[in-house]
């Protein structure tokens, strides 16, 4: 080892040791210019491979002195090298295997998320298109006024124009897992489309086609169209909580809100039977009264003849959670028999949505 060290090598020296012998940068070989240096910078070692083949320059001062070896600084990292790991014992193998299993389980959980968010969409898309084709086939053949309700079988179709012209899903009978995998499901025992009472439909918000993913983007007076074998029923979302008070003079005056009232009875105390009904509401999962004929009231709150024809959509809330339920309630404003319009696109142009 020689003492030809750069000035930055001083840190290797132990403080308190005697100063290193006088050092100078290597003189440049003859016939070459010394490397350019920025003024004020410490001298740098020449870059690139040092040219070796030349008559040896005079040895730098101190070259013939005894080499001084400095002790490494304690705790320094520059010279430390990791010793080769010892072979794993039985315990080590067990720990490594446990780690591998844990990593694998983590990957499985991630994969399950992928399944929930994306793969179920693919499965449901297939089922939905099958159900849709089947429904179209049945409607083409048979135009019975009241279709027979069979569990898990589609009997109507939901369109939401504000979600796009092509937004449509079949509605299956029942809200069990099998029905909801195909698309939105009708709460058994609640009213049918167009009937007084509450036509209630549940749908997934995440995965499985996520038909009700965007329900929170609806605003009051947005249209929801329910298609049956014979008719289009046009519902409009009821006023929201903060719009109720000033409805008639406020948003309710908008032509697009034609036919939408607050359902409140000005003569009755607290607005009458529909005092709890709003266009959007977030409730606990246990609040089954949300789908009652008169929402949030006893089943016999009003005789059937006085009930409004409502449509209620339910989904989980907040997104990715099942802590609460988002409830969207709308009211029937128009019924268009299918022999008056060619198809859904024709209907949209007639109701001013397309």
């Amino acid at each position: 080892m020689t003492t030809r060290e750069g000035p930055d090598d001083d840190r290797r020296r132990h403080p308190g040791q005697r100063p290193a012998p006088q050092r100078r940068p290597v003189p440049p070989p003859r016939g070459q210019l010394p490397p350019r240096q920025a003024p004020g910078q410490p001298p740098r070692r020449p870059q690139g491979p040092p040219p070796r083949r030349y008559t040896s320059p005079p040895p730098p001062p101190g070259a013939n002195e005894e080499t001084v070896v400095f002790a490494p600084v304690k705790g320094g990292t520059a010279t430390k090298e990791k010793p080769a790991p010892p072979p794993l014992g039985k315990g080590g193998v067990a720990i490594r295997t446990a780690g591998e299993i844990l990593i694998t389980l983590g990957l499985v959980v991630l994969l399950f998320m992928v399944y929930e968010l994306y793969v179920t969409d693919l499965f449901s898309a297939g089922k939905q298109s099958e159900a849709s084709d089947q429904l179209d086939g049945e409607w083409a053949h048979d135009r019975t006024l009241h279709p027979e309700l069979v569990d898990g079988k589609a009997f109507a179709r939901i369109h939401i124009p504000s979600f796009g012209v092509d937004y449509n899903f079949t509605i299956q009978e029942g809200t069990d897992d099998a029905s909801l995998e195909v698309g939105p499901g009708h709460y058994k025992g609640t009213a049918l489309p167009g009937e007084p009472g509450n036509f209630a439909v549940a749908g997934h918000r995440v995965g499985k086609g996520a038909p009700f993913n965007d329900l929170d983007n609806l605003s009051s007076c947005d249209q929801i169209v329910i298609e049956t074998s014979t008719d289009f029923y046009i519902y409009k979302v009821l006023p929201y909580d903060d719009e109720i008070e000033n409805w008639a003079g406020g948003k309710g005056a908008d032509p697009k809100c034609k036919g939408v009232s607050t359902l409140r009875d000005p003569n009755a105390e607290e607005g009458g039977a529909y005092s709890e009904t709003f266009g959007r509401k977030v409730v606990l999962p246990s609040q089954g009264t949300a789908v009652n004929p008169v929402p949030y009231k006893d089943a016999d709150a009003l005789p059937k003849a006085q009930q409004a024809a409502l449509l209620t959509l339910t989904t989980c809330h907040p997104q990715f959670s099942a802590k609460e339920r988002l409830i969207i309630t709308s009211v029937l404003t128009q019924q268009v028999p299918k022999d008056q319009v060619k198809d859904y696109g024709d209907l949209l142009s007639k109701i001013g949505e397309a």
Binding site: D177, A202, R205, F212, P285, A290
Partner: protein, 51 residues
């Protein structure tokens, strides 16, 4: 575990790699088509109805 599996695979590197990929895909398919559909209804976060 995985190192042990790797050593158990026969053949040269290419064959071992092929076996490993096929096995991994098989496990993923088993999870996606059998295990997860079975597991899912037993979990709570997919409920959308009120009752």
């Amino acid at each position: 575990m995985y190192a042990w599996l790797w050593r158990k695979f026969p053949g040269p590197f290419a064959v071992k790699l092929t076996i490993a990929v096929v096995l991994a895909l098989g496990v993923v398919a088993l999870l996606m088509f059998v295990v997860f559909p079975w597991l899912e209804p037993r979990l709570w976060f997919n409920e959308v109805a009120v009752n």
